[in-house]
């Protein structure tokens, strides 16, 4: 039985590095970020992680949608043109 339509290898970036699609880059201010985690929850790509001083964004996959900036209560994220 050919299972290829059902099962596939769980690889990171099966569609390539989607970060290359980005027009605006979210920049996190480590001074303002309280690491509340709101952006981690809301990021539709799941590419924001808790870092040492602030949240950190995996720019290989961030598509620059800006949802993280919208949900940030600290206004710690700024969208900067690439």
């Amino acid at each position: 039985m050919d299972l290829s339509p059902i099962l596939s290898e769980a690889t990171v970036a099966s569609a390539g590095e989607t970060g290359s699609w980005r027009n605006y880059r979210p920049l996190v201010s480590s001074e303002l970020c309280s690491k509340c985690g709101n952006c981690i929850v809301y990021c539709p790509e799941g590419v924001i992680f808790e870092g040492v001083d602030s949240v950190e964004i995996d720019y290989r996959f961030c598509k620059g949608c800006g949802v993280c900036r919208e949900v940030c209560g600290q206004k710690a994220i700024e969208m900067v043109p690439e």
Binding site: M1, D2, L3, S4, P5, I6, L7, S8, E9, A10
Partner: protein, 371 residues
């Protein structure tokens, strides 16, 4: 008063409804996970299984869910991990579960579901017809229809055996109330099922994507493979028939050898129709029945071997036609088609006798409703 009639066979004889017979068969199959939501007239099946789990008679996880959609989702998940699974439903429950029925079939996971076949509202009706189970035809399930509590018992066990070989879920249909709640003598045959097998398992720690988004090519292939494998499941059903009661595989042929007239039917009301056939036979009418034990895979070969005069009696309709009438005609057979017994409307031996007489006399329209 004494008789010896029911003494044949080696198993213990018990008086069981088809609901109870299915629960006994499931117990023998030793499922790992059962998930279900109650609905009339199926509820006694899972109530009995819940009692068995509670008393320790059956070592299974019984998952109480908030809906039929969740019931099917739970057994889908459990089956993915390799569990032998069972659920049961009827009517609106099946309708609510419908989406997940497609998921489990498309995922090629073995599973067994009993359907106590009941009308779907509106108007509100809890009684028997085949409307609900016929809606499963396109989803990619094997669909069996039992005629007696004994056959419900045997077919449920066969369902596990077949489903786990062909990787296709299997629905066992029993008529609401006239089977689900009617107690008959059942021989508890000791079937031993092989260990659970299936095409794949997903276990903790495995890194694999299941049912990721596909484009047309992969979806087309998955659908084609399922259609082909569903057709091929006929071989497994025929091959294992002898282990589960020897009913004849996809069909039961009743007095068909020399028949000029054939009636095509499925389900619990076939017994009354057989008694009517016997009455006509006593009058010299060469009539017999092709009882469809399976709706999927559809018994095309047996249908094509029927004599030229064919009457299909349906308990579910699509538009003005009966569903089995349409399916039978699609095999290239000229049929007369009667829709009857919707919503549990009683159709007895006398009704069948009159109907078959009209058929033999050539007085039936192409499509008629027995109202």
């Amino acid at each position: 008063m004494r008789a010896e009639g029911n003494r044949n066979g080696s198993g213990v004889k018990r008086l069981l409804t088809s609901n109870e017979a299915i629960a006994e068969a499931v117990k023998i199959a030793k499922p790992d996970v059962i998930a279900a939501y109650p609905i009339t007239p199926q509820s006694p099946i899972v109530e009995k299984l819940a009692e068995m789990v509670e008393s320790g008679e059956l070592d299974a996880s019984f998952v109480r869910v908030e809906s039929e959609h969740s019931a099917m989702a739970v057994i889908h998940g459990a089956a993915t991990a390799g569990a032998r699974v069972f659920t049961a439903t009827s009517s609106h429950g099946l309708a609510y579960m419908f989406e997940m029925c497609w998921w489990i079939a498309g995922s090629r996971l073995p599973a067994v579901m009993a359907v106590a076949t009941r009308s779907i509202g509106a108007p509100w009706n809890i009684h028997g017809d085949h409307t609900d189970i016929m809606s499963l035809r396109d989803a990619g399930w094997i669909i069996g229809m039992a005629e007696s509590a004994q056959e419900a018992f045997d077919m449920t066990l066969q369902a596990f055996a077949v489903s786990e070989v062909v990787n296709i879920p299997f629905a066992v249909g029993i008529d609401a109330f006239t089977m689900s709640h009617t107690a008959e003598i059942v021989e508890i045959r000791n079937a031993k099922l092989p260990e659970r097998r299936q095409a794949y398992r997903i276990l903790p720690g495995m890194e694999v994507a299941v049912n990721a988004v596909t484009m047309g090519e992969a979806r087309m292939k998955a659908r084609y493979d399922l259609a082909i494998d569903l057709e091929k499941s006929a071989e497994v059903i025929e091959r294992t028939d002898g282990e589960f009661g020897s009913y004849g595989g996809l069909v039961e042929k009743y007095r068909l050898e020399d028949a000029e007239y054939a009636v095509v039917m499925a389900g619990g009301w076939c017994g009354d129709a057989k008694d009517a056939i016997d009455m006509l036979r006593d009058e010299g009418v060469r009539i017999g029945m092709l009882r469809l034990r399976f709706i999927r895979p559809f018994p095309e070969k047996a249908v094509k071997e029927l004599p030229s005069e064919v009457l299909v009696v349906d308990r579910a309709n699509t538009g003005i036609k009966g569903i089995l009438g349409m399916e039978t005609a699609a095999c290239g057979v000229e049929v007369k088609n009667v829709v009857a017994g919707i919503g549990g409307l009683d159709v007895g031996i006398d009704d069948f006798y009159r109907l078959f007489g009209k058929f033999v006399d050539g007085k039936l329209e192409k499509v008629e409703w027995l109202i």
